[in-house]
């Protein structure tokens, strides 16, 4: 074990780097910085006590009580509420806004291109004559949809992969985790650029590509969690009672790891939105017919020397707000669910 001969009761960093209640970034890094490749022992250690410690005995509680518990801890946390409030406002802005503030986002209108903010166009117009405020709403729809779809898909696939790997054990586990190690050795952005260059993604394909680079983190986290869960008495009891492996995964491991998964999903969504923006900037994102915040922002970077600031800042602020909101939510969830941190 990585923790070697440290004293009992001593706060031991999980893995080479201590688990931090840090910004979010930390969350992202736990995924990429976590246990190095090919060190299953470390992966095991980083599973840590986690939220599982909250309900140690017996079968995983019913779905209702997990939800209630999460809800309760959530409400107690100001950061979480702040993050959630930002997110609700952004969603209303993007999905309800266009019905209240109707603009033409379909046909180019060069006659009114690059207008500064005015009462007719509160955030001005862009180089193609689109109203920036209206475009911000429409672009937000695709950015949020793609980010959430990729984040959730990666969490689900990663969770199942990690849980199956841990429960299967032995050679299957080793092979499955070496595959994760291998893909982990490819820096995310390199892999994203490579895949985007090969597949020239449209919207659904973009979600798949973003999912493909994001599922490794949850797979490792959940496997670590599952390794500690599978030796619990109640899982042993299911085995003795003749329960199938799929029952163990779906009814026991996944519900008990749900806290870890939820925390991670929220970071994954934040990362996916940032990754999409980076791809747009590098000219490998979606075509302008599908406006995204990243696309708007990267178009805005081409006109900074002209002083058209209204084309640069709104989309950037929207991205940062969204990512901060998801990071707040994830961080707050981890703080409330992680019993280790509550003690401090």
């Amino acid at each position: 074990m990585a923790t070697g001969t440290s004293q009992p009761g001593e706060a031991v960093p999980a893995g080479p780097v201590p688990a931090v209640a840090g910004p979010a970034g930390a969350g992202r890094d736990l995924a990429s910085l976590g246990p190095g490749p090919t060190s299953p022992e470390l992966a095991e250690a980083s599973g840590g006590p986690g939220p599982a410690g909250l309900y140690e005995a017996g079968e995983a509680r019913s779905h209702g009580s997990v939800l209630r518990l999460s809800l309760q801890t959530f409400v107690e946390n100001k950061l979480a509420i702040a993050g959630l409030a930002i997110l609700v406002l952004l969603v209303l802005f993007c999905f309800v806004g266009p019905h209240l503030y109707v603009t033409n986002q379909k046909s180019l209108n060069p006659a009114i291109s690059n207008y500064p903010p005015s009462s007719a166009h509160p955030l001005g117009t862009d180089g193609e004559g689109f109203d920036v405020l209206g475009r911000l709403m429409v672009a937000g729809q695709s950015s949020l949809e793609i980010g959430m779809a990729a984040g959730v898909a990666a969490a689900i696939w990663g969770t199942l992969y990690g849980a199956v790997s841990a429960v299967a054990g032995g050679v299957i586990d080793a092979v499955m985790m070496r595959i994760v190690d291998t893909l982990y050795s490819l820096p995310t952005l390199f892999l994203l650029i490579l895949l985007s260059a090969i597949f020239a993604p449209n919207l659904p394909l973009m979600i798949i590509v973003l999912t493909f680079v994001a599922w490794l983190g949850p797979a490792r986290l959940v496997r670590g969690e599952a390794l500690s869960l599978r030796t619990r008495e109640y899982v042993e009891a299911v085995k003795v009672a003749g329960g199938t492996r799929s029952r163990i995964v779906v009814r026991h491991i996944v519900p008990n790891a749900i806290g870890t998964i939820m925390v991670n999903t929220s970071f994954l969504i934040a990362d996916a939105i940032l990754a999409l923006a980076a791809l747009s900037y590098l000219g490998l994102g979606l075509p302008d017919t599908t406006p995204t915040w990243g696309g708007m922002l990267s178009n805005g970077t081409t006109v900074i020397f002209d002083g058209y600031w209204w084309q640069l800042y709104p989309a950037g602020v929207a991205i940062v707000l969204t990512v901060v909101a998801f990071n707040f939510i994830g961080d707050a969830l981890r703080d409330s669910l992680d019993v280790r941190l509550q003690r401090r």
Partner: protein
Amino acid sequence: MTGYILRRTLQSLIVLLMVTMVMFVLFHLLPGNPAKAELGPKAQPATIAAFDKLEGLDRPVWDQFWLYLDHLAHGNLGFSYVQNASVALLFAQRFPKTVLLLGLATVVAIAIAIPLGVMQAVRRNKAEDYFFTGASFVFYSFPTFWLGIILIEIFAISFHLLPPFAPSGDSVTQILAHGRGLVLPVMTLALISIASYSRYMRSSMIDSLAQDYIRTAKAKGVSQRAILLRHALRNSLIPMATLVGLSVPGVLSGAVITESVFNYPGVGLLFVQAAQSDDFPILLGLTLVAAVGVILGNLLADIAYAVLDPRIRY
């Protein structure tokens, strides 16, 4: 210890072998087929056949993989038909410049993040701790390229203090001759790293300060300064040493973006330009090199962790 290092190195080599397999599979997933992807959609059948023969693509798959490994072993990363140069040569020309950029950024980031993290740990839950925690949240949520652009707007366009573009040049010395141009790219990369490094330093330091030996030192009457520097800081630096090794993938990704923003002639810019011109040999070759960097970083981090902390025995 030697046994652990050997075992760990062997594991890394296995992962490396699997990475080459992934690259090999991706090469065969290229749109259409490798020949069309590299020669263009209008390539004549005879040209394609000649290309396939030249690259060994007419042979059985296992032969091809073996040939690929053989090439790699001889330092042959592929040939860019777009740039008409070998990938290894292009890489060798630009690698020192990227190392310069990343090295400077990492040094700056560590030099700022460590004192910042210590300060936040000592002043935990006070106003300044909250301020820097908030700041690191925001910086972490910044698209890297936008941060670079904002720095350009402030320091180059508004105040004319620094050039908006990185120095270009064939060698590191030429770039250093125009060192002012490096300030903004280094700042961009460092700001993002500081956001995460300082968080780890803060929590690592808080961990250390809660240890029994700190209480003992206090009870002995050791001065606050000595406790912080000799007892807490030194132990908190162990995870930081590994963190630097483990942050290779993040730093490499940051380099790709930063080099694009500032038009810095490094490996990252080469990679992005290759992606924009569908130059797949460069993309595959450089991804493999990046993977080697990540694997090495992980390996060194694990070894450093074992070497630095005498409590850890394998």
